[in-house]
Symmetry: C2
Subunit: 274 residues, 2 copies
């Protein structure tokens, strides 16, 4: 029996738990931007326990690109601090499975890949502060233009831990010059979602040579009066994981995030109303 497909627009007013159920049951495998308004969405990193302590130390030392919002028990696919009945093997629309640092598979279910030594780490994502910018009347150009956010490698060293280290990846959003300070103040309120920008203005200061040639995502032009503003990006930990060439490592596919039950403006990312 083939399940009936559900579209992104069908899910726009659907609660988080029902969206996860659609994903789990194979009805939806698309991106999650704009879904479950007000709920924290998460970047995903699943790795062997042997490397989990160093990876948590790495994230703790690099809190702007790698804000830890949830960590599972070893071998346990459930994430009760992030939501009710979240099973990380089935509840993310699309996963990438890497072996020895090379993409091995892109799948919609990792039940067959899950093993008793895996640890799930959920990390905050930029959707949280983008929603807050929009609520406060600050334009988000790539959303206006229907594009993906542009992402760039920088020359900013990460603080290493064990085999994890490298350079920070940032996103760039053009912000009207008069609203840059407000954008900074708003995003600073979301330390679980990359926090305040790490820089603004001249891209060369952080080792970006050409804003028209992002390393990932789409080039987004500045409107007249816009300033390029740079935030730490959740692609950073994914790159770091790949460079570490772990025997196995699983991430979400870009844009296909874990939708939690935690309010994105909650004081902590620990669900307290179960």
């Amino acid at each position: 029996m083939t399940p009936a497909a559900t579209s992104h627009s069908d899910l726009l007013d659907t609660p988080a738990a029902a969206i996860r159920a659609s994903i789990r049951n194979g009805f939806y495998a698309g991106h999650t931007a704009g879904l479950a308004a007000g709920k924290l969405q998460c970047n995903l990193a699943i790795l062997p326990e042997a490397d989990a302590l160093d990876f948590l130390r790495f994230c703790q030392r690099n809190p702007k690109p790698c804000p830890i919002v949830g960590v599972g028990d070893t071998g346990d696919p459930m994430l009760p601090t992030l939501g009710r009945d979240i099973d990380i093997r089935t509840d993310v629309p699309k996963y990438r499975v890497f072996r020895e640092g090379t993409l091995s598979d892109e799948v919609t279910d990792i039940t067959d890949v899950w093993t008793d030594d895996l640890v799930t780490v959920a990390l905050g994502c930029s959707f949280t502060f983008e929603n807050a910018l929009l609520r406060n009347g600050i334009p988000v150009r790539h959303i206006e233009k229907g594009l993906n956010v542009p992402m760039f490698r920088t020359d900013i060293d990460l603080v290493p831990a064990g085999r994890f280290g490298g350079k920070m990846v940032v996103t760039m959003r053009p912000i009207p010059e008069a609203q840059v300070e407000q954008a900074r103040d708003i995003s600073r309120r979301f330390p679980q979602a990359h926090g305040a920008p790490i820089a603004s203005g001249d891209p060369a200061q952080i080792g970006i040579s050409d804003l028209a040639s992002p390393d990932w995502g789409d080039a987004v032009a500045l409107n007249p009066g816009d300033v390029p503003v740079y935030w730490a990006c959740g692609v950073t930990p994914q790159n770091v994981l790949l460079d570490a060439a772990l025997p196995i490592c699983i991430t979400h596919s870009p844009g296909h995030m874990l939708i939690s039950d935690v309010a994105e403006d909650a004081e902590t990312t620990i669900l307290t109303d179960t």
Copy 2:
């Protein structure tokens, strides 16, 4: 050669690094309240690597009592993300060494106790938000009265991880009723230092039977018009560690904190200006 003793008042205007040098060299072994104004002070938990992953998961799941501000590499006593040349074996005024859950020693140096499998975890402390309350004209009664803050066991379950779990410990501060909301707003800005209160008013709602009989610290009476306000407390992880009866575990002695070089109002607790 016996070093000349240095008093608490001698150190009131001394920079953080110089205070740590006095401590390291045996000139000072007293409490750190009020020292190095504006710098983050830290609760300390040192434990074997075998339990470190579970302890970090425990802290991540209980961010209000256990806000992680720094984690050392296994066997490495230096904490470069928290300050310049911090050697955790010598730079805290007084330590408690526990073996199998029992206090074994209270010492001013743990060089002889340090081993290659130990991991240092630094946790935020309430000095940070108390300073912010005082700067905003909100009285802190136990400081006014020259007492220790009263601490109470509650009936609030912690989210467990591995062998770590139990009940939350809170501090109580009497706050004038008209300033309770402001105190909440101010302390919420410091997620690295217990954040907003977890409750206010009737102590019975969180399982405290008698405010006049704290489990640790001193009883502090409410002034007319004061409301008791409860914050998650850094004694929580200490209790949890003791209950876990690890082969070895080292904490600071109460009030004798690690003084970092991180500004207490910094966006993250990672030192970036080295």
